[in-house]
Symmetry: D2
Subunit: 391 residues, 4 copies
Amino acid sequence: MTSDFHARIPDLMMASGPCSAYPRVLSAMGRQMMHHRTEDFVELMLSVDADLSRLFRTRNRVLPVEGESILGLEMAAYNLVEPGDVCINLASGYYGAGYARVLRGYGGEVVDVSVPYDTSVSIDQVRGALDRHPEAKVLAFVHSETPSASENPMGDICRECRDRGVLTIVDSVSGVGGSDVRFDDWGVDVCVTGTQKCLGSTPGMSLVALSDRAWERTRAVAVDAGRYERSYLSFLPWRRWVDEDYVPYTPPISSIYGLKAALDIIMDEGGVDASIARHEAAAKATRAGIRAMGLELWVDEDAHMANSVTAVTVPDGIDDRRLRGIMDDEYGLHISGGLGDEAGRLIRIGHMGYTASRQKVVTALGVLASALAELGRPVDVAAGLEAAAGA
Amino acid sequence: MTSDFHARIPDLMMASGPCSAYPRVLSAMGRQMMHHRTEDFVELMLSVDADLSRLFRTRNRVLPVEGESILGLEMAAYNLVEPGDVCINLASGYYGAGYARVLRGYGGEVVDVSVPYDTSVSIDQVRGALDRHPEAKVLAFVHSETPSASENPMGDICRECRDRGVLTIVDSVSGVGGSDVRFDDWGVDVCVTGTQKCLGSTPGMSLVALSDRAWERTRAVAVDAGRYERSYLSFLPWRRWVDEDYVPYTPPISSIYGLKAALDIIMDEGGVDASIARHEAAAKATRAGIRAMGLELWVDEDAHMANSVTAVTVPDGIDDRRLRGIMDDEYGLHISGGLGDEAGRLIRIGHMGYTASRQKVVTALGVLASALAELGRPVDVAAGLEAAAGA
Amino acid sequence: MTSDFHARIPDLMMASGPCSAYPRVLSAMGRQMMHHRTEDFVELMLSVDADLSRLFRTRNRVLPVEGESILGLEMAAYNLVEPGDVCINLASGYYGAGYARVLRGYGGEVVDVSVPYDTSVSIDQVRGALDRHPEAKVLAFVHSETPSASENPMGDICRECRDRGVLTIVDSVSGVGGSDVRFDDWGVDVCVTGTQKCLGSTPGMSLVALSDRAWERTRAVAVDAGRYERSYLSFLPWRRWVDEDYVPYTPPISSIYGLKAALDIIMDEGGVDASIARHEAAAKATRAGIRAMGLELWVDEDAHMANSVTAVTVPDGIDDRRLRGIMDDEYGLHISGGLGDEAGRLIRIGHMGYTASRQKVVTALGVLASALAELGRPVDVAAGLEAAAGA
Amino acid sequence: MTSDFHARIPDLMMASGPCSAYPRVLSAMGRQMMHHRTEDFVELMLSVDADLSRLFRTRNRVLPVEGESILGLEMAAYNLVEPGDVCINLASGYYGAGYARVLRGYGGEVVDVSVPYDTSVSIDQVRGALDRHPEAKVLAFVHSETPSASENPMGDICRECRDRGVLTIVDSVSGVGGSDVRFDDWGVDVCVTGTQKCLGSTPGMSLVALSDRAWERTRAVAVDAGRYERSYLSFLPWRRWVDEDYVPYTPPISSIYGLKAALDIIMDEGGVDASIARHEAAAKATRAGIRAMGLELWVDEDAHMANSVTAVTVPDGIDDRRLRGIMDDEYGLHISGGLGDEAGRLIRIGHMGYTASRQKVVTALGVLASALAELGRPVDVAAGLEAAAGA
């Protein structure tokens, strides 16, 4: 296999993430190297930081960590959780449920608040858990659960925790840029997003916003729990970035180029509000289209559905692998199936970043309908497209 | 205006040509320069030539001329037509009709054979004209008329002319690679195609196949009509390419890179037969979809329709500019309107090169349906997609 | 041979043109297609035009013709010369000498003014010729003769011709952007440049500036000589661009992207004066370096040397092919040899566009010295680099 | 600041890493996304793995970890070191010295073996330390110390440790691909390299080879020291890659594309031996050139010098920032200064990956000489280039 494998790259990828990236991002990824210890590069990093602060709506710096989002999420536990800390973990999907292991990995006493994966956690459930566990130090949850395409009410939960002095760790990997996130106003403590979801760049970075409380807690935990302060997992080396504009590692230069291009796209379209509105519109159109086509959405109600991905129940009698195989092989469109128990029961259509557009929604609905028809299960795509257009 | 105008580039272009190019072609266009007077570059050119010969199905070299296709077509007249030559010119569309001026420009006595622009010329009409004008030296026609999306029966016409000793000049700018062309078998004399149509590369080159008879005629006309033999319009400087592997000009290096990538794509998918089959399938799917949606195709019957573009009659009461405006602005899909008398009466959807795919056809049908619905003219897109899938 | 032939692309090309292009240009070449019949594209073309007017220092439009520079030069003769016109042709090199054939091709009665190819034409020689041929209609010459790396005094010649009412046709293919060109002030009539020389883009276009007199003459010649007005060679179709902002052909979209990036580079570095100063500095540094290394420049004196390329006499006993072979194979640096009678007697180092930089001059001198040393002919590269730095 | 900042990218970067990347790598970085959970992507990963195994000369899988090399190095301590383990740490430079903190961070009892930073550790010193500390579990060292451009005798050290049952952790971030590494033959246990050094790709990944012993030790330490087995720092999640071809994280897709292109370049040039030979030649040429120019190499003797970077003592009276400033601003060549105590005393020239070529060495020597001359400190560049060519 040589590196000229263009034929293997799908023409369009509307998966649960990554999706096809913006052409402008890809063009930026191909730029030659600058050196990271130059004024020009620091200026670029500061410009990225200014845009990221707008994106998270925070006055604080957002750490541009090199490594997959799961790294940023583990960093949150490494720095905020010490043995014996009671941590409320909201589980409304696989990623949320899995985070309990991370919290336990750092000594957290985890209180699980679980709901079925086709719905989201209510603020009342959160209040109940906080009432029952006034000793809780940390509450963690996933904002946008891509495995089930659901979304938790981030603002309500974080404000409640802030008012009670409980630190919040929010996995908004597929949320930031596509759903509303108001880091400072809502008093969020740690919020992690990725570059490859609603930003439309490529995978490879964790973007981590930290409140002042989170920084304080980081220092305390480092001492109390004896956390190695120079670890790649520690936030502390990043103080040099916050305080001295000195990036503590060799940054992933190409990924920074791509990220800057992605942020430029958002700023050019009118800023983060415009980006969120576009994602919301794509989500509503997709849902309306799916329903009008006579298919079922997996998540129980609209208020619980994510802006970046839509989960569709696989109709009875349809093999989801054959369905996705037709979409892939005959139509060059790659979407995702379900994870875990949902394998075979769900298909998931990503509309995030570059693919959060009316055109891509039409393509996805049209191809899905065509593939279903090929499998002997025609749907009313006319109603679907009409509903999508009017959503 | 700076050079970073990505936002102005349409997400998808299915116009009458150029259409969006293959990503692999665009990647090749960005390569650094080689020098054209090196063995490596000549090897590249020979490799392009070998692929082009497969594409036109000829044993002769196909001239890779730098300049728009109209240049290659003018070269045909410059080299083959001398004052007083009777030239039968088949006009089944704007391009065909316009070629009469070129023939006259070089002294040709043009006999026009015109048909309405929503049909194509029949072989009987050709025979009739040839019967009436046994003195004819040249017969010229457009294989695939993109302005009206029609196609003339190239094989029949060329074989008839060959049998009668009449030279043929064929504008197959949007035909080669998408419709069957058998240069040697059919005895074609000059056939011109472009890089930006069914090859899916970018505009900038004319690819010109010449028969041995055409080369002979070129030499004779140069002498008889005193044509300047070193002109950019003359085929004669290209003898150095044919005879000595020496390209007579500085070739457009980036365009050669792009063309080679486009040819690689065709060879990788199985060769020219596979490419034609793909274009034919896209055309059939588009037509079936348009009809099933209750819209009218402009061209009178399927046998007369082009493989690379489909013309749809604008429904009564619809302003085609508003329709295309919605497709552009809201859906990021750029298609073409009609030319000349057909302005406002036609829309044209290109399915050529990169866009000759099932996915792109679904996108085009879906977006067209959505835009029509927005204008209060809903169509049965379900039937359309079903018909497209089954075509 | 597949399209993945990166290994065959020289690491650095400092030939007589094309040279290695700017990375920013190559990045622009890889952009997806826009449609040329859109407002956005016309805006791009107008922006290119505004920059080109700055480059040529003219208020008139500069025609962005698709095809190698030789096409633009032939257009000049096609449109300005009619049978019987006396044309003074200055021949100070192969390109200049060759243009006599073009002028004759269109009926010109050519008066040749020749000088040895290692010098340039003096203004006195021009005056003498004009005195001897007061009937001359046209005077043609090459501004920068890349085959011998010499330069003619364009301003003096054109002003003299303007004052005498003689039309000038100037081949400044490797001049514009690297040497001073003042189209309007000097009263030039036709000036042609290429995209692949001092602009640092890729080959494929002819950029043609026309005076009002040239436009008038074009109209007259079209009538008098019966030139086909719709020919690809005619300037007349371009009136639609000049008068209506309508590009008369499908433009080479990628090449326009690349050209715009090249023009942006010039405007970003401070405009055409800065670009010329950089080329002049690179030329002076190269000459100083070559001389200090004990080698001989081919052209007789500095005032006659080109800014875009330097010709060096091959030292006795050195086989230029072996020399260039070592530079190519061992050092990844491609330069040019001599043409015609100069084959084997010259090597030519291009310093134009991207390669007109102090770094590239150091690289060229250093590699040349190393290759000569390998052939047993050491030179004083220390003196060479010192002289280059101080030039 | 927009994303179009090409002007800020240095024309050539020969720093201590990253250096300018291969154009072929940059082209690959700009490819569109594939999904990582597809057969095609797994095939790509397996192909990368096969090449990496050739590169490290091991039968084991080399983990393609997402994150800077420092992450891979910390992983080694996380997985192999438990509290109380005696770890011999060889410090022949800043990176080596700094690793003691990492070992201590995971409870290691560190025995430092230090040598001045302008030399390397001898095998006798290693034997002595091993003799004095027969209880040692681990020995760690840096193969190629980029801060001082020195190299430790990796083969000797690792074989000695293997024979004594001491695990080795080798930082070969700037070694692998440029210097000989025989992972299996020498019995290395953990060896980490980066993508942005001798491979000539971009920064962003850690490539980690593990012996069977290292895997065993990882399992034991996880249990004994209670290391969190699902941590991003743990090797254990990577068992799914080793055992099941399942990448445990979302891989950095663009970086994988770039890495594959870099590996293709190595395989195309003849494999890892050819790559090492090229780096060795570049290093020898640079050293010979520097010495012949009358400058001093920082490292005490050739056998201790690195193949990927050369440290030059800043001559008396020269301000290294002014020197590098001239190289940057006037010649577009970016090199590195010294770190820590060596700031102002050293300049470092990287010749790794794309810049490990004869042309780039000539450029670096020539530009350095020119900049020194500008500062009033001329050097004998003629002797330098001659020596470089003959090295």
